[in-house]
């Protein structure tokens, strides 16, 4: 199974500013001076091998959209959430299909705006012959998708989309088979509710658990999540806040922290923790620091089981 991250930011899309860009360019030029970088090839090799990742890398800024490819011969597409990353995801599938229609299976954690805002810009929705099946546990799923395309919010009403679009109701705790993929939703603590998904296919499994607050005093709920994450090849986890913020000034805001992610994944013996739903106020330097610290925490608290920690970024591809 392969994961492809099209949007990893929480709440609101962000981008590098011109100031960020200018500073990076200036630092990169200084770092590369005297190295004979007189061709694009040499410069690319230098950036790839020698330049500080803080200068050569960005976590990106699209809101949540994570594609998974179960493998096998199936021609259908699968994606969790339709944040602003869905625009690039749509371009990708249209290019790959080269004019041949296909089916896209969408799994919606919830319908807050950052998770649906990419759909009006999702190219396949405007293509005749395409089939889009939007799965979720919220009864308001269809209403939310239609509402954001109604005037005065957007110029193209939902009824004018050319693709065949279906809404499929899922039930929390009940596993469903969707085109060879086993999907089990789980209710999470978030304003208006959100749902995590445990997704299994071809002997691999991962959990998509974003917009989920974990209340430390609720031991039974924590044990439920440990069972939900049990032995997963990857857990995509809402690590928006620091633990201190999540339990104090941002308690009840519906999000979690890197520290809770490490603890739950260690208890669940998950193989990989993927920090996700990055705080839009955090720049690349802050996110790189959080990743480094989370890896250190895993090292400090490691028992017999080693947990790999990565931070999702727009464009990350991961083979499970």
């Amino acid at each position: 199974m392969r994961l492809r991250f099209w949007g990893t930011r929480g709440s609101l899309p962000v981008s590098l500013t011109w100031r960020d860009m200018r500073e990076r360019l200036a630092r990169a030029l200084v770092a590369g001076s005297g190295r004979g970088l007189d061709t694009i090839e040499k410069a690319c090799a230098f950036v790839e091998r020698d330049l500080d990742p803080a200068l050569s890398h960005t976590f990106g800024g699209h809101s949540p959209c994570v594609e998974f490819q179960p493998g096998g011969a199936g021609e259908e597409y699968f994606v969790c959430d339709m944040g602003s990353g869905a625009r690039a995801f749509g371009e990708h599938v249209l290019a790959r299909q080269a004019g041949a229609p296909a089916t896209v299976n969408v799994f919606m954690s919830h319908t807050h705006w950052d998770h649906i805002m990419g759909f009006p810009f999702f190219g396949p929705a405007y293509q005749r012959g395409w089939r889009i099946r939007i799965h979720g546990c919220h009864e308001t799923l269809e209403r939310a998708f239609r509402l954001q395309q109604d005037p005065p919010c957007f110029p193209v009403p939902f009824s004018q989309l050319a693709a065949s679009i279906e809404f499929v109701q899922l039930a929390p705790g009940v596993a469903s088979e969707v085109s060879g993929v086993r999907v089990t939703p789980k209710l999470q603590v978030h304003s208006g509710d959100s749902y995590g998904f445990r997704i299994a296919a071809g002997g691999r499994s991962f959990v998509y658990s974003t917009d989920s607050e974990h209340r430390l005093e609720q031991h039974a709920a924590s044990e439920e999540f440990v069972a939900f994450f049990r032995d997963a090849d990857a857990v995509i986890f809402d690590a928006m806040y620091s633990l201190a913020d999540a339990v104090s000034v941002k308690a009840d805001w519906g999000h979690s922290s890197n520290v809770i992610g490490v603890e739950l994944c260690q208890l669940a013996r998950a193989k990989r923790l993927v920090l996700f739903h990055h705080e839009p106020a955090n720049d690349d330097r802050a996110l790189a620091r959080i990743l480094q610290e989370t890896r250190r925490l895993e090292e400090l608290t490691r028992g017999e089981h080693r947990l790999e920690v990565v931070a999702a970024y727009d464009g990350l591809e991961m083979e499970l």
Partner: protein, 124 residues
């Protein structure tokens, strides 16, 4: 959990030891409560001496935060002293170092809470 209470003038020092995690958190809170009542009732400060603490989880940190909130609501203050390197790192990674004043030694923590407590420490 044994808290090994010690008083320095108007300041109470409590020293949780071992591991403070979701399994020991409830016992810690139960053992802490009478000390909180006594110290805060007397308008004194509290220092958590963490020199014997080997590990603290998110649940343990939350216990500290609840105690701190209670102290603050009653006009008192809790500070942290002498964490081992591992515990100090966990405070920093979780950003609990922004919620608590963390002092490298017990003497420095006492001085931050009360000059009388620091003087009492020096005379022992």
């Amino acid at each position: 959990m044994t808290l090994n209470p010690r008083a320095y003038a108007d300041t109470l020092v409590l020293a949780p030891a071992g591991r403070l995690d979701h399994e020991s958190c409830d016992a810690f809170r139960a053992d802490l409560q009478p000390h909180l009542e006594r110290a805060l009732g007397a308008s004194g400060g509290i220092v958590f001496d963490l020199s014997g603490l080997e590990y603290i989880s998110s649940g343990g940190l939350r216990c500290f935060m609840l105690a701190s909130n209670e102290a603050r609501a009653r006009g008192g203050k809790i500070v942290v002293a002498a964490p081992k390197p591992v515990v100090a790192e966990i405070f920093q990674i979780s950003r609990f170092n922004l919620i608590f004043d963390v002092h490298p030694t017990l003497r420095q923590a006492l001085a931050a809470v009360s000059p009388q407590a620091a003087a009492a420490f020096d005379t022992r």
